[in-house]
């Protein structure tokens, strides 16, 4: 729009943003909190069969969420699943962020040939579906949390490279960077001192959104049997077991699904809220 300064922002938008941020924060913090508690205390043993207490319903004393077909405590399994989600999600998103930042900053600040090479490679990797990478890795190395994290990293890194490169370029063309260059500052200094602080917001948002995506992919892979296996527990694995052993109508198929939806929704809302708060354009309009 021309003369944006002439047109004040409608104040209604800002109130909505905070709702998204607040709900996201509450859901995410509860999720993190539950996983944290699971490190110290679980109501039961998530892997210990108990044939006398099979398929207890929701609300049974001692087994608040009931038990599964082998009599294992559901609540404990859900809490363990939260832990797995965080481990795999944070693992995949952090590795992607690290690799993506190095490659993205390198592409943004290096010459044309390096830039083109990195970006075209990213394009190629981006067109290989993540599930395919995961299947190949599972076929060669066997499945498990480690393999899943590697597959997620291979799948997500190209997106991080793209986003971080374009954010970095938008900073690198700013006048203050040109000025720093004229002072004789080196590339690493400029990247660390000027670019990184200015793209930190983008990186945080990207991390949050891909944390959520990683949880979805991990659940999918575990559901297929090429992700996390017992004795580790994943929500996807729980759902798969429930479907195979007692059929879809069981409440056992509801809990893990609901857990995934709430957590992913929370992280996505948090990411969107953070983006809106940090978006310099919106911030300027709000002032």
């Amino acid at each position: 729009m021309t003369e944006a300064a002439d047109i004040p922002a409608a104040p209604r938008r800002r109130r909505k943003l905070n709702v998204s941020l607040a709900i996201g924060l509450v859901l995410t913090l509860s999720f993190l909190g539950i996983a944290f508690v699971s490190l110290f205390h679980l109501p039961g043993d998530p892997n210990m069969p108990d044939v006398r207490n099979r398929l207890l319903p929701f609300g049974t004393p001692g087994h608040l969420f009931g038990t599964d077909v082998l009599g294992r405590d559901i609540l404990s399994q859900l809490m363990m699943g939260a832990r797995t989600s965080i481990m795999v999600g944070v693992g995949g998103a952090s590795l992607s962020l690290l690799l993506g930042s190095v490659l993205g900053l390198w592409a943004a600040s290096a010459g044309r040939v390096t830039d083109e090479t990195i970006m075209r490679t990213a394009d190629i990797l981006l067109s290989i579906p993540g599930i395919v990478t995961a299947l190949v890795l599972a076929a060669t190395f066997g499945s498990g949390a480690g393999t899943t994290i590697v597959a997620l990293t291979a799948f997500f890194t190209p997106s991080f490279v793209r986003v971080i490169r374009s954010a970095a370029i938008s900073v690198l063309v700013e006048d203050f960077v040109t000025a720093a260059r004229l002072y004789g500052r080196g590339r690493l200094f400029i990247l660390a001192r000027h670019v990184l602080p200015n793209i930190a917001g983008v990186m945080i948002v990207q991390f949050t959104l891909y944390f959520a995506a990683a949880i979805l992919v991990e659940a999918g892979l575990s559901y297929l049997g090429v992700g996390v296996n017992r004795p580790s527990i994943s929500w996807g694995l729980m759902l798969s077991e429930a479907q195979q052993q007692v059929g879809v109508s069981s409440p056992l198929a509801m809990w893990p699904g609901l857990a995934i939806v709430l957590v992913v929704l929370g992280l996505n809302l948090l990411g969107d809220g953070l983006r809106d708060v940090m978006d310099p354009k919106l911030a300027r309009r709000g002032a």
């Binding site: 021309t2 002439d6 047109i7 209604r12």
Partner: protein, 325 residues
């Protein structure tokens, strides 16, 4: 009903709880030309968009805008749409972003003609070629088949003018029509705009911060500050003898090529302070915090008073320019 090409009465534009335009009134007679000047944020673009009924979402206009026998603010979107491009039309600042990038420019103009005159495809296209020729575009038959990105800024703006004028509107609003163009083509585009407006007998509302353009093209001028008109009157009188301290400051901060001293001793005046943001407008006269003549009286809103020329100031300055302290 009003005989004017446009008659605006007490226009207010609200954004949330704030008033971005705070009671603007003016009229332009058929074929008349008025300049609307002011800094960014003064409300001049919002005023123009109100006349077109194209305010961004979240902003609302109240008051009366009389044009072509109707109060535009009471029309439904469908009936208002029928007038846009036909009885009143607008030219925007940046022609490249104002033209549809995925449609040939000729087709864009032809669709306007077909919409409002019911002309057939070929007849409309022939008119477009004529219009392009009138706009002194080289090889008009070819140029109308181009996409916007294939043309220069000057060519784009000339076609934009052709589109806005294609249906002989009673009123043309031009919002900074040459700001985005190279200095070398600005003059030519303005000359073509002026000629085309003359030929159609349209009235012109010229929004700009370029005072010499107003002096060259317009009969009257309205100066906006803080969402209100602070001074309005015939261009020659207002520019020679401004009454409002803001108008005077604005004129004094124009570089005047005739007065540049060869020894480099000439000074460019500037108005101290900054335009206050909308939510921090002072009580009373909006210019008060920057005004050298402000007194307690200025905490009350001064009325826009006078005859043919009016100024909203409790302490109007007078005397030809240059004499001020």
């Amino acid at each position: 009903m009003s005989e004017q090409a446009i008659d605006v009465r007490d226009l207010v534009v609200r954004a949330g709880g704030l008033r971005a335009v705070r009671g603007v009134s003016f009229a332009i007679p058929p074929g008349g030309r008025m300049g609307l000047v002011g800094e960014s944020g003064s409300g001049k673009t919002l005023t123009a968009l109100s006349l077109m009924g194209l305010l961004p979402a979240g902003l609302g206009a109240t008051g009366r805008i009389l044009h072509d026998g109707a109060d535009l603010l009471t029309l439904s979107d469908r009936r208002f749409s029928n007038r846009r491009g036909r009885t009143l039309s607008m030219i925007f600042q940046d022609p490249l972003s104002a033209l549809n990038p995925v449609q040939r420019v000729g087709e864009q103009i032809a669709s306007v003609i077909r919409r409002h005159t019911g002309a057939g495809r070929q007849a409309a296209m022939a008119q477009v070629v004529d219009l392009a020729a009138q706009m002194k575009l080289p090889r008009p038959e070819e140029i109308v088949r181009a996409y916007p990105h294939q043309l220069s800024g000057g060519q784009q703006q000339r076609l934009m003018i052709a589109m806005a004028l294609s249906c002989y509107p009673q009123l043309i609003i031009a919002d900074e029509p040459t700001t985005a163009l190279d200095v070398t083509v600005q003059r030519e585009v303005l000359r073509l705009l002026s000629a085309a407006v003359d030929e159609r007998g349209s009235a012109l509302l010229m929004i700009t911060h370029d005072l010499p353009v107003v002096a060259a093209m317009c009969e009257t001028v309205a100066v906006m500050y803080g969402g209100t008109i602070v001074e309005i009157g015939p261009v020659a009188e207002v520019f020679r003898d401004p009454r409002h301290p803001y108008t005077r400051g604005l004129l004094d901060s124009q570089p005047d090529i005739d007065r540049i001293a060869p020894d480099g001793s000439s000074r460019l005046e500037s108005i101290p302070g900054m335009v206050p943001p909308l939510h921090a407008l002072p009580k009373g006269c909006a210019f008060r915090p920057r005004c050298a003549f402000a007194t307690e009286l200025c905490e009350r809103m001064p009325p826009l008073e006078g005859g043919a020329r009016k100024a909203a100031c409790w302490h109007p300055v007078s005397g030809p320019r240059g004499a001020a302290p």
